[in-house]
Symmetry: C2
Subunit: 245 residues, 2 copies
């Protein structure tokens, strides 16, 4: 079984993102009409989004302030593809954050930046810290807090375009085993309900990673089942770009 996958993967280039998100990923004339001239794009989330970014200057469009994760990969692609769009791209992910911790810093780290486009990926810590006994919020708290956060955002920024990422985990890894799957589905379904009710774009990261498992094991795409590897950050960036294109 395993060597069969290996041989197939050597012959066939994986169309991982395309297999999950319909539409051609090879469009040559993608103008990304969602991004207007001077649009501010803000990325929010936990360590997956933070990815070791520098947090003193927090500059837009700067490799170090963005950190070497999926946000940098998609920023580089957008900045190169749209050189006259004058995009302003911030990363404000912070390691360990759960949804209520986004709320605690939302004025400074979101509303004050007045994003035109806001991309949020949050949820794995809401479950992980509960599982570890370091937090007592439930999936119901997650959903309620997420809805409150988006209501507050829409109140201050009625024209903001919202993008919600599906929280994901990959079992058979250092941090994650099969017992995570069912409880994480609860958080994934909650995030999807929020995305549907707020009419946001939706990036199905879990589905993309599941598809990627056809080509290499979980330890190839993530470092521990929660954090993406270099290969995993590329998957995430491609998925995000495809959703916004």
């Amino acid at each position: 079984m395993k060597s069969g996958i290996g041989i197939a993967a050597l012959v066939n280039i994986p169309a991982i993102v395309s297999a999950v998100i319909p539409g051609s990923s090879e469009r040559k004339n993608n103008h990304y009409p969602m991004f207007k001239r001077g649009s501010t794009i803000l990325f929010q989330g936990d360590s997956i989004t933070e990815y070791g970014r520098e947090k003193e200057k927090e500059l837009p469009n700067n490799a170090f302030s963005i950190g070497p994760g999926y946000v940098y990969l998609l920023t580089a692609q957008l900045m190169k593809t749209l050189p006259n769009r004058e995009l302003i791209i911030y990363n404000r992910g912070i390691s360990g954050n759960k949804v209520f911790q986004l709320a605690n810093r939302w004025q400074k780290d979101c509303l004050d930046l007045k994003p035109d486009i806001l991309s949020i990926l949050i949820g794995v810590n809401d479950y992980w810290y509960l599982r570890n006994g370091m937090y007592d919020g439930t999936v119901a708290d997650y959903e309620r807090d997420y809805r409150a956060l988006l209501n507050r955002t829409k109140e201050h920024l009625p024209d903001v375009t919202l993008i919600i990422g599906q929280p994901f985990v990959l079992p058979n890894t250092e941090a994650v085993d099969e017992s995570w799957i069912e409880p994480m589905k609860g958080y994934q379904q909650a995030a999807k309900r929020v995305a549907d009710d707020f009419n946001t774009l939706w990036v199905p990261y879990q589905q993309v990673f599941n598809e990627a498992l056809k080509y290499a094991p979980a330890n190839y795409w993530t470092t521990d089942g929660v954090h993406p590897s270099v290969a995993g950050t590329q998957l995430m960036a491609e998925a995000w770009l495809k959703v916004v294109s």
Copy 2:
């Protein structure tokens, strides 16, 4: 003139790399046959290659050890595209290096790693430090040292595939003015002679950046005329991938 460029760029997606390096950049079935299963790929150079990478662990295939520059962008692309190729990718660029300083650390930082593929981008400091009076090596020293370095490399690693990058600068920037152009051509021609004589692959970064200037000014593609911006790192990564594809 300038607003005319701006309008054209909004309507036409720049095919910058394709305009310089022939061949389709959108090939869906690029198997990168140059990279065998388990190939070790080493990137060498100065700060453009280093790009703030962590230098304690210096792990392969690790976002922090690779740093958020062009090496990370192309590594992410290769790791995602070739999940079963088991590539081992190192960045060993060090800020400020001239070609003789590569030689000083070549045993540890190149020969001991036994790369199958070795990509070198070096030269801008050989000129910059000469210009600043902090170094007295000439373009002849650069070429002689470069040839000696590659002879030594081929002696120890006769089967290594070599890739040489064209050193580049962009004037009308913080660090670079028009008076750099002619002397830098000397270093670029020397690097090209070395590449031709050693039958290496050649990445024409200067030509790629020159093409990019049709779409946005030098300060968009570099931070100071020497170091690439986020958009510039994407240009470099795409150019490199195209050359090896």
